[in-house]
Symmetry: C3
Subunit: 180 residues, 3 copies
Amino acid sequence: MEKKEKPMRTLATLCFVLAVISSSLAQKPDVEKKLKELGIILPAPQAPIANYVKAVRVGNLVFLSGHGPSNADGTYITGKVGKDLTIPQGYEAAKLTGLNLLTSLKAEIGDLNKVNRIVKVLGMVNCTESFTDQPKVINGFSDFMVAVFGEKGKHARSAVGMYALPLNMAVEIEMVVEVE
Amino acid sequence: MEKKEKPMRTLATLCFVLAVISSSLAQKPDVEKKLKELGIILPAPQAPIANYVKAVRVGNLVFLSGHGPSNADGTYITGKVGKDLTIPQGYEAAKLTGLNLLTSLKAEIGDLNKVNRIVKVLGMVNCTESFTDQPKVINGFSDFMVAVFGEKGKHARSAVGMYALPLNMAVEIEMVVEVE
Amino acid sequence: MEKKEKPMRTLATLCFVLAVISSSLAQKPDVEKKLKELGIILPAPQAPIANYVKAVRVGNLVFLSGHGPSNADGTYITGKVGKDLTIPQGYEAAKLTGLNLLTSLKAEIGDLNKVNRIVKVLGMVNCTESFTDQPKVINGFSDFMVAVFGEKGKHARSAVGMYALPLNMAVEIEMVVEVE
């Protein structure tokens, strides 16, 4: 019996170890690889437009400054959603803002795989007074974070409508991130 | 002397122990009981209106999403304070929002007695441009938190006037809570 | 050899210790002294204008309430930047708000030398709809923090334009600070 059992035990142990490894891999997808799969290239970091820094880390929390939908050439998507921009255009602006936030986050922590959780987001939409679909706009950011980070990308959030934003940018988004 | 002193010491010790216990009870009131005393029944949790979650816990901090004054049937108290709503109506909307925040908080931590402190609140009032009594509106939330949690309910806060809010809700409030 | 080497070693050790001390002093300037050098006298703490507290500490983070540009006599700098106030006037209002925030921070932690980092700031400017220079206004706060705290004063920040603020104050600023 002993002789038969031993290989079985070894096999069982091996299976268990493989299961643990694969489950651990499932929980830790490669975020940088995921960005490539999504066809996303993070833009180069841009300098803040005033006397502040893009991110501050305290303990395992990173607080990121309000970012906007800046293009690679430094121009911004501008205007008010509900007048100058449609909801889908606002959605794209929020997604682009998410991209810029990830650029600043990566500059701060070195590797986006260190992200444990996107914790809290304040999504501010430059809009008209009668516009009430701020959540649909900020979804451009939120959908992007979930696409990149999976469950770790799901965050608490507020989405609100602003009277005026710097440079007339279409959205401004700030976030708190938990890192390893 | 010895024989006389001993019962005195025992009595003193007993008094001290009772004082400690009662003071400890005074510091730890039962929050769920308090809600009942106030005649408050927490509504059932509602699904977020977009791609996010109601709360994220990181360490002993819980970050709650922006909540609004939603009724049990899913409708919201809507309109602008200073035009569609009076200050007392705004106050009630802020209180109802507080109720909804506690529902989400309880869903996250299981038991409201685990709350150590309501830490920081951002109270956003949908209002007219000339309205300047945002603090009186957000007091509907703050008074409620102090009624429920006592000293632990006293928080840092900002109260501000918004141009537009999702679904035209009257107020949107987010908060950070410290838990055990 | 031994006899010659010993004093050399002692001298080297002394130099090293002095270097460490002076570098440590360089990293820890006296903030209270810096305020005096800048000719700044912190105003007396004022009571909150509603049912909340000025600051809440949780662990090594202090969350400060939204503060405004209140003068020593309790009056506020009021009005909208872009209409009632120029950018330089808004800048001064933001600086004054920073002063009031430091007053509340000192009341909470006792000594401003305990500040490790100004972490995150939300700077809200009461302005017109077409005003897009919120960053230049909030720089009044940010420049002040860097003048007082040096590198420790550099923070993540959002600067946005508000429709309405309490008492019609020109700016409202809240912040998160890491302390020893």
